[in-house]
């Protein structure tokens, strides 16, 4: 039976190219992947980048430090607050400014809210990528509450620009504490729903377990960071190793999984939701009184030297590297974006799998293309 099937099979096995993107729902933006495939098996994935490259690093060389802050939330727009914070921290450290505790605590609370909002969106889209459309609505419903809080306090929902070098643009809205507490109560009942709906789903587990495996050694070699690296058992949380703002005052666990597959990365993010809630709970009742901003010169000039600051965005380690010659503009500004390094590991993770697995793997890489293209 089998022999006749082989004899009659006139199809040859042949490698060929196929384009995935730049307009593809699973690439979540304008990312083009050149796939070399043999049947359904992936032989090579080559990302083609630059569709929305704006050369932010070059623009920074002509901008003042206050202006640069506004450019950074156009990189990883889902972690906009944390991106702003990274630049502000670099500038503040370079100027050796003493930042009030109130600012540090508010920055950390909003940073963790940003992380939850980003993970909610990721969770919704993750389900959608593997064929469970309902999650999209659940994720966006809960993210909406956070966006409303942001709108009230920061005046914007996505690209908030709430940070300025020296503190915050303005103080928090009187409703802020009340609404954050309401959100915590609400969201604690929703994460178990997430688990019921998707985490325990048999089809979902079959799509994700053992798919897109990345070992710990490879994770370090590829410079992978954030939940992707922690899914491979690589302990790299910047919040733990290089705490900034008020993160040294709170206790939380770094979530680690050891399997390194898509399901492990998924679990890391779900558990991080609980940790972020815990951080906010520890801080929300203890926002110190004080100024929301310290005065800086209208024209900020950094001293001559090199300054590096890393923060943990929802995607991983964002590094801001400024080379200053003592003028009002940076001589060279580099953003080490987490998505760029995470994407570089995609080929390694996807080869040997099927196209459907590639979609699942990409969903847990949680790529934001402007973060890669900068």
């Amino acid at each position: 039976m089998q022999e006749t099937a082989t004899l009659n099979n006139s199809f040859k096995s042949e490698e060929y190219f196929i384009n995935m993107g730049p307009q593809h729902p699973a690439t979540h933006g304008v990312l083009r992947l050149l796939l070399t495939i043999d049947g359904e098996i992936i032989k090579k994935v080559e990302p083609d980048l630059g569709y929305i490259h704006r050369s932010i690093e070059k623009m920074c060389e002509r901008d003042s430090y206050q202006q640069i802050v506004h450019l950074t939330d156009r990189m990883d727009y889902l972690s906009s607050h944390i991106n702003n914070e990274a630049v502000c921290l670099t500038v503040e450290n370079a100027l050796e400014l003493e930042i009030p505790d109130r600012v540090k605590v508010i920055r950390t609370i909003i940073g963790e809210l940003t992380r939850i909002a980003s993970h909610c969106l990721w969770w919704g889209v993750m389900g959608m990528d593997v064929g469970a459309l309902t999650t999209y609505f659940y994720g966006f419903r809960d993210r909406e509450m956070i966006n409303d809080i942001f709108e009230e306090t920061c005046g914007a929902r996505l690209t908030m620009n709430y940070n300025v070098p020296g503190g915050l643009m303005w103080d928090i809205h009187p409703n802020f504490i009340k609404r954050v507490k309401e959100f915590i109560v609400h969201f604690k009942t929703k994460i178990p729903e997430y688990d019921k709906l998707l985490t325990g789903n048999v089809i979902f587990q079959k799509r994700t377990k053992g798919v897109g495996v990345l070992s710990k050694e490879d994770a370090i070699s590829f410079g992978v960071s954030g939940p992707v690296a922690r899914g491979s058992g690589y302990s790299c949380d910047v919040r733990k190793y290089h705490p900034y703002s008020a993160l040294d005052k709170v206790t939380f666990n770094e979530v680690l999984e050891t399997d390194g597959d898509t399901f492990a990365r998924y679990n890391v993010r779900i558990k991080e939701l609980w940790e972020s809630l815990s951080i906010i709970e520890q801080l929300i009742d203890n926002i110190p009184e004080g100024e929301h901003r310290v005065k800086t010169n209208a024209v900020i000039k950094l001293p001559k030297g090199e300054f590096y600051q890393k923060v943990e965005t929802a995607r991983g380690e964002l590094g801001v590297y400024i080379i200053s010659t003592g003028t009002k503009n940076p001589y060279r500004m580099k953003f080490r974006s987490p998505g760029f390094s995470n994407l570089s590991a995609l080929n390694h993770m996807a080869v040997g799998g099927k196209i459907g697995d590639l979609v699942a793997t990409m969903a847990t890489l949680d790529l934001v293309i402007p973060d890669i293209d900068r």
Partner: protein, 182 residues
Amino acid sequence: MTNEALQILISEWFPNPEFEIKSESVDIDREEKESEIEESVNPSLLEFTEEGSQFLNVLVKPENLHELMNKLKINSETSLDYLFCLTGVDWGAELGIVYHLESTKHRHNIVVKVKTKDRDNPTFDSVCDLWRTAEFHEREVFDFFGINFNNHPNLKRLFLTPEWDGFPLRKDYVDEINMVIK
């Protein structure tokens, strides 16, 4: 490891041959001249500085780059296995790369810099074989600074189209249409 300990360890890997010759030849009036020599000739081929940076900075000559990086990674005392940032820089007269390294075992950092005066055909050895993350980062540097890398498996433009003229992040790049000069 502290920065001082790192500096002592790493500087011994690349002794400066000139320093040894000079210190041998001046045996007679050694006491007088020793301090002078130490100031003028660096005992190591590497230059260390911590000025204006929170990390220990090492400046290495292009020909020693790959050997140094390899040692930094495999030596069990340094064990700098995490290349978290690779930056191309145009210093005006010189083009160069800044490597930010961290050890996931010891949690210490080091910054390695390499520079060249050759602006027409700047070339360094690739460190892709040591850290795979360098593959993308070096392509980005090639794209924006026109710096070539020996032994890179796939050196071509990453963000820009292949027919793009010039290297935008160089300081002398001119583009009258797309750049707004303030």
